[in-house]
Homo-oligomer: 328 residues x 2
Amino acid sequence: MAEYDLVGIGNALVDVLAPVDDLFLEGQGLDKGAMTLVDTDRATAIYDKMPPAQEVSGGSCGNTMAGFASLGGKGAFIGKVRDDQLGNVFRHDMQAIGVDFATPAASDGPATGSCLVLITPDAQRTMCTNLGAATHLGPGDIDKNIIQAAKVVYMEGYLFDPPEAQEAFVEAADAAHDAGRKVALTLSDPFCVDRHRHAFQMLVQDHTDILFGNEEEIKSLYQTDDFDRALQHVRGHCEIACLTRSSKGSVVLSGDEVHIIDPLPLDKVVDTTGAGDQYAAGFLYGYTQGMDLYRCGQIATLTATEIISHVGARPEVNLAELVARELG
Amino acid sequence: MAEYDLVGIGNALVDVLAPVDDLFLEGQGLDKGAMTLVDTDRATAIYDKMPPAQEVSGGSCGNTMAGFASLGGKGAFIGKVRDDQLGNVFRHDMQAIGVDFATPAASDGPATGSCLVLITPDAQRTMCTNLGAATHLGPGDIDKNIIQAAKVVYMEGYLFDPPEAQEAFVEAADAAHDAGRKVALTLSDPFCVDRHRHAFQMLVQDHTDILFGNEEEIKSLYQTDDFDRALQHVRGHCEIACLTRSSKGSVVLSGDEVHIIDPLPLDKVVDTTGAGDQYAAGFLYGYTQGMDLYRCGQIATLTATEIISHVGARPEVNLAELVARELG
């Protein structure tokens, strides 16, 4: 029996959230809604101009693991922080929600990675990520015993940005498959797909069992403007593909099986980011509990809807209770 | 002409906020609603048991200065952080709201101070403060040029806890008076008053022009169970005394002048702490702009009401706009 339901591998980041207006983004030359990689000097320059902020643990995969644990799943996280205050914050928050996090902190090199999250009044987030210590996640950090003790290993596409992590990525996938486990991947961001398209295509084709991507990401992956064309492409490449479409709901594909999952009604979208992270958390929770794909998609939609109803990318309610109440 | 309206001196702290239940407080042996001083080991032990948290800049006087700047006042802050990540967070948040903060960070010794803020479902906060670098605020950090460049110097009673800061306290008061400036003091906490009653009594009598205290604090100061008796005591000792009484409103005394300020209606009190900090911010803003005492009390009541309507001890709206809208 697997010791973990899910092990996630991702960039360990602390979010620094602040409200700004569109003029701020223009002044800093930032693409609204995008995630831009920045070095420490650039991050410092932007932070110096930012209004007062709050610090919370983040990282795409970290957010997914927090949601997964809140649903009742048993999870572990692999990612790199430094032995500094924000690294301690990240580790505390991961362990406090019941996710095992044993990757040793770096004792030198750059500080724990952070993500400046600029929230505009239209509920969009523009992100500037300084990967920091996360760039030092290497193959040596991939604990095969943990990978092989989990039903599924889940990796974020953002891991393709730090060069050493790409190698860790393939190593983790191979270790999982050697033990008969499943490999799940999220494409993370259309610009990230654009930066590493060929590598992503190979990974999806050769190493991925369960793929998550939104409409922009999957279209970027296959360089098409047509969602259906992208869908037909991916269909043969992975065992399961979950394609999310914001207010249009999502599509779950597996061989001949196709499910169209409708969105849930919501009075007000407060903050869209984290939706994809929580969709993956909900889907993988259902999957690792042996539920059928339609049910997995329903849980995913519910958890994604919870996250966009408030500011912040980690759930504010107990998701297991939410699922029991809403889906029975 | 004074360069600053207000200079605040206080413990520079970063808050670590998390929701807990009453059982958690019992398990940790904490007095509900109180501020307990803890050393690093104890703080670490409590943090290890806490749920995921968010980090925001805090400190009683820091909160007041943030409110004061939001009202449109020109302020400066004196307090001690270390040259670490949380120290940078505190400095950023202070400067980002327009408060000058020039006290040099300590380059060795304990880390930047923090306050574990445990929020129970009844909207009460229980706080565990690890003063850290704040214990090293000494007379050398009291920049007399800044003190004498401000109309009022405002100090928090919590400054009586770090031993070196008491000396800094009196030095700042003397410097202000030498330049014909006013000295304001908040009693901060009934237990803090209890710890340092004699020193507080002397300071109120000999060095304080404007005193802030809530009902429990002023009763503790004069060791009486009767609010009116405490009021009569304090009346002769300070030029102005502002006594806050939670849902019963507040009383402002100055010589023969007495104002009873009614509370404002509020649907739901979400989180009570920070109310005293923002009362002081509002009152001192009015005072430094030369407004009459009743108007000062009205602004104070409005800013205190804003802060208890949400989680967190720093304002979530532009207070200058709020005052213009509500008080004209």
